[in-house]
Every structure is written in C-alpha cells, then in structure tokens.
C-alpha cells in the first residue's frame, strides 16, 4: 500500500531528511510570534485594567454594600486591597504580581482569584471538551454521510446546519433540560462532577459547533474526493466508504484546524449561558457573577487567563500546522 499512498502521507518521511532547517525556521517564526503575542497579551491586560477602573462608585462600597461594617472594617479592607494607593502604583503592582501568577484576591469570594478560577475552570474544561468532542464526532459522521451525495440529501443537511447556527444556545439548553431531565428523567440536571450530568449541557453547546464544522468538513471532503489520488484508490477497487474514511477524511480535517480560534470563542460563549441555564459551576457563572457585582479582580483574572489561553493555542497551532499539513512546509 505504501507505493500508492497519497503524497500527504509520504510527506512526513521526507521531513526527516532535513529536520534542522525546519526546526530553525519554526523556531524563528515562533520567536516572532511569541513577541507579538506578549504584546497583545499586555495590551489586553492594560486595556482591561484601565477600562475597569473607569467604573463609578467606590470599590469599598461595592465590597461592603450597605452592611453595617464599622469604619475599622472599612479601613482594614481598604488597606488589604491596596485601594488607598495611586492608580499607577496599583497597575504596576498588579502587572508585577500577574507575571508571578498572582491575580490578587476576589472582592466577593473571600479567596484568591487564581484559586477561584482554578476551581471554576475544571468543570468548564470538562464541559468544553465534551462539547467539542461531541461536535467533532457528529460533524465528521454527518460530513462523511452527506458529501457528494444527491442534491436532496445535501439540501436537507444544509437546512439542518442553518437551523443549528441560528438557534440560541440558551434556548436549546432550556428545551433540552426540560424535556430530557425533568420530563423524561433520562439525564440528571445536577452534579458538577458526574458524567451523566454533562450530557445535556454538552449537547447544547455542541449544536452550533456541529453545524459549522459539518459544513466546513463536507466542503473539505468534497474537494478531497475530487483529487486524483481518490480516483487512483477507486480504480484499485476500494469501496466508497473506505475511500472516504482512509483518504478523504484527513483532508477534510485540515480546515477545521484553522477554526480553532473561533471554536474557542464559540465554546466559551456557549458555556457562559449554558452554565447559567443548568446552574452548573464554572468559568461562565464565575464571570457573570463577577460582572454583576463588579468583582474586578475576578473579571480581570478571567480576561487574562482566556487571552493567554487563546494566544498559547494559536502559537501551538502555528508550530504544529506544518506538521499536520506537509504542503505548508515549503512555504515560509
């Protein structure tokens, strides 16, 4: 089979011959990319920090509400949070500590921001991973089943995809929850830690993801199916299913990688509303609550963490894209 394998499969072998050049180029590109990314990261941090300072009202009042806290307690809080220091000093301290991984203390939660985010990010990552896996699996199956099929099949599929992109996630989530948890009792609604409780929210956030991925993958598949190597494979008597699975699918997955940035945002946006609907703990709930109560350290912390995550993902992609798609190796 090796002699008839498509060029894409052979390529990695070729790369072994000149590893140093590739690594060198990749390293240089990574360095540039890293520098720009740090700049972007600093920009996001600074913009958020000063934007959030522009809010009217005293932070201590936000901390205390109109509880009958004594002046001593007010003073204790002011000095604990360094609120009596000038803004630029607060900014420099914040940046300095952030670089060391200390994002300050939450105004509302009586714990460090890193702790709050650390605790919230686990259920959110579980949900995101489940939603992404579900979306990829369903989209792959749908794309394989519908690519280059009769017009009617594709029309129906496009219609379904269109509905998938148009349904607001929170509405789908409410309907799913009511039907499958409360009416039918198939899945529990509660239990941040149980797998069964993950099913419905994962389905909710997977809906738009699936709709978009199916479309992208089908187009990739259809292009791949028109390639000469597919003809060769068919000529060798491979079944249609085998051709789709063994040869075309790999090509179809490539454009999906370019969507990772969007997927990241879409899934994160999805969990914000889904966590509210299902009352799940997580990053979404954390940030919505923090916005409502002006818990600035938490809002800032989440901003910084997601921006960093986004940048890391993109750098990783930049580095690994040539590995996934050998055709890009010649391009600088």
């Amino acid at each position: 089979m090796a002699e008839t394998a498509p060029p894409a499969v052979k390529a990695p072998v070729r790369s072994h011959r000149r590893p140093s050049r590739i690594t060198g180029r990749a390293a240089r590109r990574a360095a540039v990319r890293l520098a720009t990314s740090l700049l972007v990261f600093w920009g996001a941090l600074t913009a958020s920090f000063f934007a959030l300072q522009a809010i009217p009202g005293s932070t201590v009042d936000a901390l205390l509400g109109n509880n009958d806290a004594s002046m001593e307690v007010r003073q204790q809080i002011i000095s604990d949070y360094g609120l009596d220091r000038p803004l630029h000093a607060q900014y420099l301290t914040y940046v300095g500590r952030a670089l060391l991984g200390d994002l300050g203390r939450s105004y509302q939660l009586d714990q460090p921001v890193t702790g709050a985010i650390g605790a919230a990010i686990v259920p959110s990552l579980q949900l995101t991973a489940a939603g992404l896996a579900l979306g990829l699996a369903v989209a792959t199956a749908l794309a394989l089943a519908t690519a280059h099929r009769r017009r009617a099949v594709r029309s129906i599929s496009s219609g379904v995809e269109l509905v998938g992109v148009s349904v607001p996630v929170f509405w789908a989530a409410i309907l799913l929850l009511t039907l499958f948890s409360f009416r039918l009792g198939w899945f529990p609604a509660v239990g941040g830690d149980s797998v069964a409780a993950l099913v419905l929210p994962a389905v909710a956030i997977a809906i738009p993801v699936t709709a978009v991925l199916t479309q992208v993958m089908r187009e990739g598949l259809e292009r791949a199916l028109d390639e000469p190597f597919v003809l060769t494979a068919r000529a060798r008597g491979m079944t249609d299913a085998a051709v789709r699975l063994r040869h075309a699918l790999r090509h179809a997955l490539l454009p999906v990688v370019t969507l990772v940035g969007w997927l990241f945002g879409a899934l994160l946006g999805g969990i914000v509303v889904t966590e509210k609907v299902f009352g799940r703990p997580g990053l979404g709930r954390l940030v919505v609550d923090a916005v409502v109560t002006k818990d600035l350290p938490v809002v800032l912390g989440v901003v910084i963490c997601t921006a960093a995550l986004y940048i890391v993902i993109n750098i990783a992609l930049d580095l690994f894209y040539p590995v996934i798609d050998p055709r890009l190796r010649g391009v600088s």
Binding site: L64, G65, N66, D68, A69, F182, R285, V292
Partner: protein
C-alpha cells in the same frame, strides 16, 4: 433590592438587609410532619438557592452561610419561637443591675470535634473574634453593639461586658452568627475559616467545595442539643450533603426527579405542582417581609400625599395572590405576622383605593396630564425612579415590579424601572437618587431600628439601611427606650408604636410576607426550623425506599 441569591451576595445583603438581625422572629419550631417514624442512618441531600461568600458566620451576613454552618456550630443560648431565651452551651446566666454585664455559667461536658474542650476561654476567643477588624464582620459585629470585652471568671464562667445596655444581645447570641467555633481552629486565621469550620455541633464538615457543595458526617459524641430541639443526642442521619443549585428551575427539577431529597425555596410558580405531587411535601416557614421603601427626603415622595397615593393605587392583595400562587401572602407591616411585636392594627390602616389615590394626587397638585396619560405638575412628569439589579432577580420581583408599574400608571404615575449595575446601585443609594427601593428583611422587631432610626440614614462614606431616609424624633425616642429596656413586653409595645407611625406616614409599603418553602421527598422527615427560618438537620431523618 433583591436578596442575594448567588455568590455575590454578601454585598447585597445590606442593600437587602436580609439577615439584618437575627433575633426575634418566629418560625415553625416543630418537626415537619410526614416521613413516617424516625429512622436512624442514611444520607440526606439538601439543595439551597445561593452560595456562601464567606463560610464564617462571624464574617458573613448571608442566610445561606447560616444554613451551611448551623450543623457545625452551637450557640451559647437557644431561642423558642415565641422569643423566649433558653440555655444551650450556657446553662444559666445573670444580668447585672446596670444591664451592662452578662455572666454565663457554661456546660462542662462539651468538646469540639477536633478534641478541644469547650470552656470560658473558648467563649472569649469567639466573642473577641467577632469584633476583630481582621474578621471583617458584616453583620455580627454590628449586632454586638457597644461590646466591651469578655472576662474569663473561672474555667466555666464567662462575663461579657458592654459599654452601655444593649437589650438585643441574648437574641442575637442565639443565632449561628454568634456560633462558637473551636478556638484552636479560629487561631489559624481567616484564611482557614474560608474553607473549613470546626465546632461542637451535631455534624462535622468533611469537605467544602465552593460553588458546589458541602458534605458532613455525624458527630457521634453530640450530647448537648438545646432544650428547644425535639430530639436529644447525636443526629439521626449518618451523612448530610448540602448542594448549591442557584437556578430555580434546576433546583426544583432536581427534587422532582429524585436527584436531591429536599430543597430550600420551592419556586412559587411550581408550588401547586409540588403540592399536587404525592411524592412531595412542602413546609412553609414564614421568615420575613418584602417591602418598598419610599424616599422621604428627595423627589416626589417627600410629599406624604403622593406616598399615600402610590400605595393606595395598587391592589397588592390581588397581585400577590396571582403572582405567587398562594405561596406568599399580602403584608401589612414591615414585620411579618408571626414575629413577636407584630402590630395587627396595621392590617386596617391601609389598602387599595384608586379613588383615594386620584384625590390625593389632585390635592398634591399633580392635576395635569401629558400625552401619554401621566400626571404632571408645573410641566414635570410624576416619575418614580426605581433602581433594580435585574441580573440578581429572585422571587419574580421584576415581574411584580412590572405589574406595579402597570397598575400605578392607571392613576397617572410613571415608574422608571432602572436596571443598573451593582456599583451604580450603591452610588444611587448613597446619594439618595431614587424614589423607591425594594428589599426584604427578616422578621425581627429590633431590626426596625436599622430601617427607621435617624442615625441609620446614610451620611458620608458608610451606607446604612434606612432607605426611606425617615427621620422622626418621636420614633427615635421609642428606639432609645427599647434599647435600654430589659423588659421584653415594654420593648415590643414600643415597636408596635413604631409600626403604626411609619405606616400612617406611608414611609414603607409592605408587599408580601416571605415564606421559606422547603420542598422534600415524602420519605424525608424531621427537618425543623430555627425561629429565623433556617433548617436544622440534627432532628432530620430519611426513610428507606
């Protein structure tokens, strides 16, 4: 407005003086019916509707903190639902003739679950901890009033001194906000109390997971339940789990689908479904009153006629009945009916009368109407500014406010419901830039002072709870007399007069009497309630099958 329902709440607690004062009040002292005969063992899973911000009740003002920590912490004294104070960790006490010192004799057989013995030094450590600025107490310290110090007279005798008489002391001392921690654990500092609480109570905390749940194990050595408890000795349950399920529909769905055994706050809209469901039981525990406070110093409500016109123009009884499906009832006084000191006379003091509302507005000079049908005076529209925090809505209060908006429009009021951010809310609160604010408070006569005493009008940087900005020399005098009086009956009579007067002057519009609706599976029995309405699990059991 809204009583905090999620993690944000401590802050809100004041805007919404929920746990204002944990004294007085009443509650269903008896065991919840049903559940058959008491059963030993098993695990009970209970779901609450908000999240504790701070786990230490000395720090937090939140109801939910009380619920999470009452299984762990005992108090020096206990309270009957009629307000009578009974012993608990203290076997007896004496009040000095000048009413500035309380000498407590303590039980000698109590030990904390970490092995530390309970004694007078532990009492001193706890009371001093409440007023330590590092504790950042948002409720207990202010309830402590003019606390001076605690003396360890001997190993089992503690003397608490005040700078001047402070009559509400024993009431607040009975609440979990004055619960007694293990002094060994307290010494570890506030960071330790953020995730672990150790006391002498019927349960000990195994694991606390923020935003999710707390799990507890029975304290097998528990022999010191208060005389107010219907069950003496260790708890019946082996284990207890309290989950945080903030979303109403999720919490109720978790109950009906058997994912939890009992829940706090059955959504009123689901009450009838729950009552019709044979597998479920609902316990109603009156806890407080939700009211509108009218700004008496700024804007249109400075005119008492306009205030009276506003409350006369709404048929609150019909609105409350329709909107809450019988879960809540119309309120007449800022105190709820079962609270000691409730003045029944307020029930005939005011009511719905649209004709009167129109007449009063005419008399007040709001005679012209603009194109949209709203009344005007000197070209100015009769507008009420009503700041709300929609994202923290609970008990369908935004829906209710929209209904009130539609009702008062009929007599010519324009209600501007302003959905604001939390900071804006506090800014408006501090600067009195509102005509109406809504919040709920626990039933408790002493808390009337926070709401209507001149000293509690916000001035300067510190926000205080007299949202109506009401100031009346006679009422202030009654409060002073009550504070200095050791006689409960005299105090309650003074508070009745306060209620009469604030209703007569239309300073506050009581809207509904809040009940905690505890929904439970029929196999769950024995959940009892403190006078403040907090559930107690020492008495609870869960049937098998």
């Amino acid at each position: 407005m809204f009583r905090p329902r999620r993690s944000t709440l401590a802050v809100l607690a004041a805007v919404l003086p929920l746990t204002l004062s944990a004294c007085g009040g009443d509650g269903a002292g008896g065991a919840a019916a049903g559940g058959g005969a008491p059963v030993q063992g098993g695990t009970l899973t209970f779901a609450v509707n908000s999240e504790p911000l701070a786990l230490d009740p000395h720090t937090s003002p939140q109801d939910v903190t009380a619920i999470f920590t009452r299984p762990i912490l005992d108090s020096l004294v206990s309270q009957e639902k009629d307000g009578t104070i009974k012993p608990w960790l203290a076997t007896s006490w004496e009040i000095s003739p000048d009413q500035r010192s309380y000498t407590f004799k303590l039980r000698q057989d109590v030990k904390f679950t970490d092995g530390t013995p309970f004694d007078a030094a532990a009492v001193k450590a706890n009371l001093d901890h409440i007023v330590d600025p590092k504790t950042k107490s948002q409720l207990a310290a202010s309830q402590f009033g003019p606390y001076q110090d605690t003396e360890v007279v001997d190993r089992y005798t503690a003397k608490v001194n005040f700078e001047r008489p402070h009559s509400p002391f024993l009431n607040v001392l009975s609440t979990v906000f004055f619960g007694i921690h293990s002094p060994k654990e307290l010494a570890k500092g506030p960071a330790a109390q953020a995730s672990n609480i150790v006391g002498s109570g019927p349960f000990l905390l195994e694991k606390y997971t923020a935003h999710q749940s707390a799990t507890y194990r029975r304290n097998p050595d528990y022999r010191w339940a208060p005389p107010t408890s219907s069950h003496q000795g260790p708890a019946r349950l082996d284990r207890l789990e309290i989950k945080m399920l903030v979303e109403d529909s999720v919490r109720y769905g978790a109950l009906t689908s058997g994912q939890v055994d009992a829940i706090l706050a059955v959504p009123p809209s689901s009450l009838r479904l729950a009552e019709a469901d044979k597998r479920l039981k609902v316990d109603r525990v009156p806890v407080g009153t939700y009211s509108y406070f009218l700004n008496t110093t700024h804007g249109v409500f400075t005119d008492p006629k306009v205030r009276d016109a506003f409350r006369s123009s709404v048929d609150f009884k019909t609105l409350v009945d329709k909107l809450y499906f019988g879960a809540f009832t119309k309120a007449y006084s800022p105190l709820s009916p079962q609270a000691p000191g409730y003045d029944k006379g307020t029930e005939s003091q005011w009511g719905f009368d649209a004709a009167k509302a129109n007449r009063l507005l005419d008399e007040a000079g709001w005679t012209a109407r603009d194109g949209e049908g709203y009344r005007t005076k000197d070209g100015k529209r009769l507008t009420l500014r009503w700041p709300i925090l929609k994202a923290l809505d609970r008990e369908s209060r935004v829906t209710l406010s929209e209904q009130v908006q539609a009702e008062v429009k009929k007599v010519g009021f324009h209600v501007d419901i302003q959905n604001v951010t939390f900071n804006e809310y506090l800014v408006k609160y501090g600067k009195a830039e509102y005509d109406l604010l809504d919040y709920s408070m626990r039933a408790d006569a002493d808390s009337l002072r926070s709401l209507f005493d001149t000293g509690n009008i916000t001035k300067g940087p510190r926000l205080t709870q007299n949202a109506a900005r009401y100031s009346d020399k006679e009422v202030d005098g009654w409060f002073q007399q009550a504070l200095a009086s050791s006689d409960a009956k005299t105090r309650l009579e003074l508070y009745e007069k306060v209620q009469q007067k604030v209703i007569a002057q239309s300073v506050v519009v009581p809207v509904y009497v809040q009940s905690t609706l505890v929904g439970r599976n029929a196999k769950v029995g024995g959940i009892t309630f403190e006078p403040q309405g907090f559930p107690l699990f020492q008495t609870a059991w869960i049937g098998r099958g």
